[in-house]
Symmetry: C2
Subunit: 346 residues, 2 copies
């Protein structure tokens, strides 16, 4: 048997007729807007419930809001991002806003543009760009079209709000921890960044900066050893292979992200080296599986859930006042030490 041609969807007109009021009144009730008496409100609410009415978001969007917030993530496989998303959706739970996520383009600029354009076309009320790689001009273009919060990118803009973590400090925490354990030859795997304009804004670059600065602070300028790949598992694997081909191995590796550390682990295991006996390893993001038993990775905690909550706060305030000055929120990371970092074998 075939489907019975779904019955026409209930509209605001149906509700108005059923409640014996005008569509205007129904609309006011829907939006909690001024100008409907309690009696009217009750009548309308009842009709809505009875008919099981749900407003058509596309139609609402043509005049007012769609009550939809678009999130662009660079990579769905990096387990750090769900933390942010959870923080965001939890904070938005009691609001009429719904979060939708772009499918993520594997750190691909073109995909990022496509995704954000698609969301603008679909009338998102606001956008969240997480660790975007597009040039600042593009971010500002988006932000001028729709209220935007940029996460994890440094630098100030007049047109969008930002929430970021102090990556410089985070990197410093790692280096200091390793130095305190007695390490001197500490290598760092970063996400390659060639564009000079982005160098001063991207968290990966700032982490590398923090690493370099901390190394110098501890008189280890000569030991600075940076390998540029990407913030992916594969990037970690390739970076570690590169490090392993050196005549003298480092005693510790600081991976710019946990997902990178995963790849490093794979490469080290493959090479018959053990962590932390042969080489200590630290990551960044303190994702769920950093805590995992057989891994137990020392990592920098960015409190993704908290970041998401801050994003929600900025979003709502920006929606209610589009012209308020832009805001920068900067959070402080903490170091979580686990079993992958120990004093170097003497």
């Amino acid at each position: 048997m075939q489907q019975a041609g779904s019955p026409r969807r209930i509209t605001i007109v149906d509700v108005a007729r059923h409640a014996q009021v005008s569509t205007t009144t129904v609309s006011k009730v829907l939006r909690n807007a001024y100008g409907a008496s309690p009696a009217m409100r009750a009548k309308v609410q009842e009709a809505i419930a009875e008919l099981g009415y749900r407003p058509n978001a596309a139609a609402r969007g043509m005049r007012g809001q769609t009550y939809t917030i678009g999130v662009i993530l660079p990579d769905l496989r990096n387990p750090f991002f769900p933390d942010i998303l959870d923080g965001l959706t939890d904070a938005l739970n009691d609001t009429p806003y719904q979060v939708l996520v772009g499918p993520g383009g594997h750190n691909d600029e073109q995909a990022e543009v496509r995704g954000s354009d698609a969301m603008i076309d679909r009338g998102m009320d606001a956008m969240v760009l997480v660790a975007p790689i597009s040039p600042r001009s593009r971010l500002e273009h988006v932000a001028r079209t729709v209220p935007t919060v940029v996460v994890g990118r440094h630098g100030h803009s007049d047109v969008y709000d930002t929430v970021s973590d102090d990556d410089f400090t985070g990197a410093t925490l790692v280096v200091e921890h390793l130095v305190k354990l007695g390490h001197r030859r500490i290598a760092h795997i970063e996400h390659a960044e060639s564009d000079p304009a982005r160098l001063i804004e991207m968290p990966n670059a700032i982490r590398a900066d923090g690493y370099k600065h901390a190394m110098r602070t501890h008189d280890l300028a000569n030991e600075i050893d940076i390998v540029s790949t990407s913030y992916t598992q594969e990037g970690g694997y390739l970076g570690a292979r590169q490090i392993l081909s050196r005549p003298e191995l480092p005693t510790a590796i600081f991976a710019g992200a946990d997902i990178v550390a995963m790849g490093v682990l794979a490469a080290l295991t493959e090479a018959g080296l053990s962590v932390p006996d042969d080489i200590s390893l630290a990551g960044y993001d303190n994702t769920n599986f950093a805590a995992l038993g057989p891994i137990s990775l020392t990592s920098v905690d960015q409190a993704g859930h908290h970041i998401g909550a801050e994003v929600a706060r900025l979003l709502l305030s920006r929606i209610s006042d589009r012209d308020r000055p832009s805001t920068q929120v900067k959070l402080s990371p903490t170091l979580v030490t686990r079993r992958t970092t120990t004093p170097p074998a003497s």
Copy 2:
């Protein structure tokens, strides 16, 4: 300086005026519809490019399609799902369709309903429900409203298409592999399922069935040992703790999903047991990090990317012919053996 009040967005009327044609003609060009001469087409294309016009999806949705496909995932942290998503978006790359993802509700039925309702309200042209937990009546309700493909759920429906993997066979492969290695006491951690109606449809239940059946086939009916928790890392941890409290330990554990195996690893490590020396371990899904060096988990491969591609195929065919009979696609899993499974210590 404050943002300069974004200029009014270009509409189809602007394009029509600029190209000196009617809006109908522009619309036809946009949709590649019949009834526009090549000359007209060229003129319109040029105007579109010159003005940088992009159609408003909400407005399109009011009469026709939104060119948007909604995907509901049960859990963004399970690394198996990005594989499916990649397969889907790759296959949709050359179409005008855009994929948007619900934020995922942690295997929570209420969140699943909210998410799918929100997507219907937002005029999705089609929906993909991945491993949904809602009762079948709910799935059919969704499918009657909008073309729907259900992934990873067994059982036939007239109103939606399905793509699923042969979970029974997958479980059998694992048990046979372990038996061949010499194991007899093989425990299984499943996702708890109490609802009898869902028991025959949910992949987790089918895997448990396959496990039981395979155990019986090998005269190991007395060794059947199932622990019910959930398909999460925590579920694996708790399940393993339960198993470890038994007077006699199994020599192998078959976790119903890789993410479960991660939790098992944590619990075993914590208890001072080593894998595979003390206990062999197998997972399901062959996610990226099953392959990871220090883990190297034996697992069942479901070819998520292929699943996604099949979903895209069904979606497009359903959109072009809403009344075609529903289709069931069933894929076959393969076993990938790695280092976590070895013969039991004698």
